[in-house]
Amino acid sequence: MQDGALSLLSSAGIRLSEEALNSRRLALTDESGEYQFIFVKPADVPVYVEHGIADCGVVGRDVLMESEADLLLPLDLRIARCRLVVAAADADAMAKVQGMIRVATKYSQIARAHFGARGIPVEIIQLSGSVELAPALGLADMIVDLVETGTTLRENGLTVVEVITESTGRLVVNRASYQLKAEEVNRLVQALDRALNGVQ
């Protein structure tokens, strides 16, 4: 996500110097001095932007769905494309499980909403990584996870049961900043929009 976002920003004319990128500082200023960058974990991007500490952010749709943050989403940056899927060892797993389905995931909100919408009772097991291990070790019947190429799934003996949604990197904007710094925000949105539709 970060590499994709930085290269997109740079084609929109917003560049970070090599020196700055190689440093270990988490707050940087771009070459023009107009933009300040902060680097945080994906799940924290909506938090910073919703509080207005950052006016704009770049984050995956998966993270946004999970956080249910109240943000504006003016641009799909079409970077870091991946799918959010339900996977299991057996493609027919859904039909075969008896009683309560145990679902291991990092995305408990999304998983709960996905199964809940169809009235399928599930027990959500919240993990923070290596979710693919859970079915093999008997912790869960299925997983809900992000899949880019599918290699990790295959190597752990899992197949996609269903695709919940596609996820790509999004530009998110704080609601107050959108009004109070309309000119600056619009300039950024338009520059990125041009960069995106130039590459297309």
Binding site: G52, A69, L72, Q179
Partner: protein, 316 residues
Amino acid sequence: MRYYIGAEARLRRTVEDVAMSVFESWNYEEVITPSVDYYALFEQGMGPREAQRGFRFTDNDGRLLALRPDVTSSVARMAATLLSERPRPLRFCYAASVFRQQTQSHAEWRRENTQLGCELIGIDGKAADLEVLRLAAEILSRLDLDYCITINNVEIFNGVAANLNLHLSEREQLRRLIDTREAAELQRFLQSYDGNEARAFSQPTKLTGKREVISTARDLITNPRAVAALDSLEELWTEIESLGLADTFEIDLSDVSSLDYYTGLSLKVFVHGAGSSVGRGGRYDDLTGSFGRAEPAVGFVLNLDALTEVLGRRLI
């Protein structure tokens, strides 16, 4: 759960006093409404979805009570019942805490916050809308805040959506896409519908601004309901300009966050230093009707705690 101690408490009191003195200078009478009332009142006043966020509990006889999640419901009922014989218009103001369960939102204010609000009941039209907008502007400038008030008329969206003959769920999807300014998804959504009108909403950057926003929208929007709303928004804007307030106001046609509640003007208040809106309001002509006496009404609330926080940071 927030304590205010010493200087902070004084500042908060000052902010409240400023607002209440502005209300008073415009002849708004203070009202104090019950903090605990039957849940049915708020369900009727706010609609089930919003009222559900209130804290509910049962009385001895099993009836459902709630800590008030808003004040407007109580004021509207009071106007329709206790004060039904009083000559109109009625002007009321209040500084009162309201209680809501927190949502997922990270920046959502605490469970308890204090609303500085006013309601103008019994007169319709531009003059009433303008009055509450001027009131809000006066309070914010008396507090020396760097603010922006966005205005919209919900009938613009309602007219366009009605014209598209959308199902409820599609209408909600369209509303949500406009609300979050998802331009690309919006264009995809609209591809399956005939007619150009809704395309007026597909370029989010052209929905926010000054007078030009209305003329841009007019190029695409032609149904009478939405056009009438555009007309009245433009008239309001002309008045705002002539009062010299155009710098601190903006038109935002993409503010479609509370469509079920408002019936005409809707407004949101933003101030520099706060990450989310610090106030909102609008016209709610249907509300008093649900308490037995339909009449026009308009009002707004400011969040005292959010304003205090912004001003407090300035003192440090």
